[in-house]
């Protein structure tokens, strides 16, 4: 192999690695897991490999596409924040136009694939992408701290889409599952905005801590944690989850509530970090329980 060919391969590998990081694999993976769990919760014939791959593929592309588009749009504010200034978009490692093209291509293929599978499913996947990119990022993120509600609604779409695909319609359980995600997202993002408050202030992005103060933010985290846990348990009952699994969901929810109480009455950097991490583990565990229950 010539040196030029080797160099070309290395460049491609490096670029793929850069774009992979732009899809925020952990966050995308977690949202993908909620979509698959939503689909399986419908207790439809889940071992249809074509459909499962379709759900996984379309959701992955749509979520990854919207994430890349967010990165493209936020590249100027990312460059001002210590936490994000090394991202490929804000550090100039990839060209702006190329990122936009990749984001659009991923999004179009993802949503197109979803629409081809089922119109309702495709519509909900598109709604998630629209709320995330247009409403949350482009319209509201730089204007109001309440933009996170729309980010939350967007994050709730994969689980609703998955369940709607399995059933063929939207039911109260799907909406409750979506509410579980919607209320879980502030627990996750507000702890994050408290940890990186200076970064957000430097980028002039309004957040709950900077707009309403830490006390109000902590109270919001506590209330949203209670609502998230309650929604997941109600949805679990609705799905017909076995008592043992509901017990386990209750235990995990109690851990979430305990940390929410701790952050309200005995706030510290450690508790903040613990709640941030635990919230992710909680949601992943809840999704695994939904899947195991059905299998």
């Amino acid at each position: 192999m010539t040196t030029a060919a080797q160099s070309s391969i290395e460049n491609r590998k490096s670029k793929i690695s850069l774009y992979w990081s732009l899809t925020k694999p952990l966050q995308t993976g977690l949202l993908l897991a909620t979509g698959l769990a939503g689909y399986m919760s419908a207790r439809c014939p889940i071992f249809n490999m074509g459909t499962i791959l379709g759900v996984a593929g379309s959701l992955f592309l749509a979520i990854a596409g919207s994430t890349v588009l967010n990165m493209w749009w936020d590249r100027d504010i990312d460059a001002k924040m210590g936490r994000t200034q090394k991202r490929a978009t804000s550090s100039g490692l990839v060209s702006e136009n190329e990122v936009l093209r990749v984001g659009l291509i991923l999004s179009v293929i993802g949503v197109g694939w979803a629409v081809a599978m089922d119109a309702l499913y495709g519509l909900i996947v598109f709604a998630g992408l629209f709320f995330d990119v247009v409403v949350y990022s482009i319209w509201l993120k730089r204007r109001t701290a309440w933009s996170i509600v729309w980010g939350g609604i967007s994050g709730a779409m994969p689980i609703l889409a998955g369940r709607a695909l399995g059933l063929g319609y939207v039911d109260w359980i799907g909406i409750t599952l979506a509410l579980g995600i919607l209320f879980w997202i502030p627990t996750h993002t507000l702890t994050f905005s408290m940890k990186f408050a200076k970064d957000y202030a430097a980028a002039c992005v309004p957040t709950f801590p900077s707009t309403y103060g830490l006390g109000f933010t902590r109270a919001t985290i506590a209330i949203s944690s209670v609502l998230a846990a309650a929604s997941m348990i109600i949805a679990g009952i609705g799905i017909g989850m076995a008592w043992g699994f509901l017990r386990l969901l209750g235990v995990l929810s109690a851990g979430l509530l305990m940390l929410a109480v701790a952050i309200t009455f005995k706030p510290s950097e450690r508790v903040n970090f613990g709640l941030f991490k635990y919230a992710s583990i909680y949601m992943l565990a809840a999704m695994i329980l939904v899947v195991i229950e059905v299998i």
């Binding site: 076995a242 008592w243 043992g244 699994f245 017990r247 386990l248 209750g250 235990v251 995990l252 109690a254 851990g255 305990m258 450690r270 970090f273 613990g274 991490k277 635990y278 583990i281 565990a285 329980l289």
Partner: protein
């Protein structure tokens, strides 16, 4: 001391086994034992997750003493309720014991009262978990493997002892040794409980 990947794996497996026990391992029991075991294994599960997230430094928190009292107290309560005749007395003892530990650790108490209360509560709960299953197995009232619950009780006692020495600042072995051993000890203890309840 920094937690190693091996420690995290051991704690993760402990958490998974505790989760299994909550979800599947206690099905079919009466209401109170189910509640008691759910609390015991639930606390073990959540504590394991938090230990993975926060690392060993979290063991320096004063809340650890109270949380680590819940596990033996609720486990012993479940065992007594299922297999012994002094159910109500033990339920009262468990509640009073827990409140006593919480109060003496939350508000200033004179002299050695907090230590005495803690030793008494842990001692009674630990001996119950250790002796009751072994005694039942020997009498033939349960399967022989139920004695593993007693072995788990001995291990939980050992873990509690090591943690107490650590918190008292007078460890019989070094802090590093205790922390190195703790995840493995927790896993071994949980394995004993899971097997003991499953086949006992």
């Amino acid at each position: 001391m920094k937690m190693t990947p091996l420690h995290r794996v051991l704690l993760l497996v402990t958490g998974i086994l505790a989760a299994y026990q909550v979800a599947v391992g206690i099905d079919g029991f009466d209401a109170l034992p189910i509640i008691a075991y759910t609390i015991a294994f639930g606390v073990l599960l959540v504590a394991g997750i938090l230990l993975i997230i926060w690392g060993f430094d979290v063991l320096d928190s004063p809340a650890v003493v109270i949380v680590s009292t819940i596990i033996p107290l609720s486990l012993s309560l479940g065992l007594v309720w299922q297999h012994a005749s002094f159910r109500t007395s033990y339920l009262v003892l468990a509640i009073v014991g827990f409140l006593a530990v919480t109060l003496t650790r939350s508000i200033p108490a004179p002299g050695k009262i907090p230590t005495i209360v803690l030793a008494l509560v842990h001692g009674i709960a630990g001996m119950t978990i250790f002796l009751l299953p072994i005694s039942l197995s020997i009498q033939g009232r349960t399967q022989p493997l139920f004695s593993l619950v007693g072995v788990g009780g001995a291990l939980i006692g050992l873990g509690g002892l090591l943690l107490s020495f650590l918190k008292a600042g007078r460890p019989i072995v070094s802090r590093e040794t205790i922390l190195n051993v703790l995840p493995g000890l927790l896993l071994l203890m949980t394995i004993c409980f899971v097997i003991g309840f499953k086949f006992g």
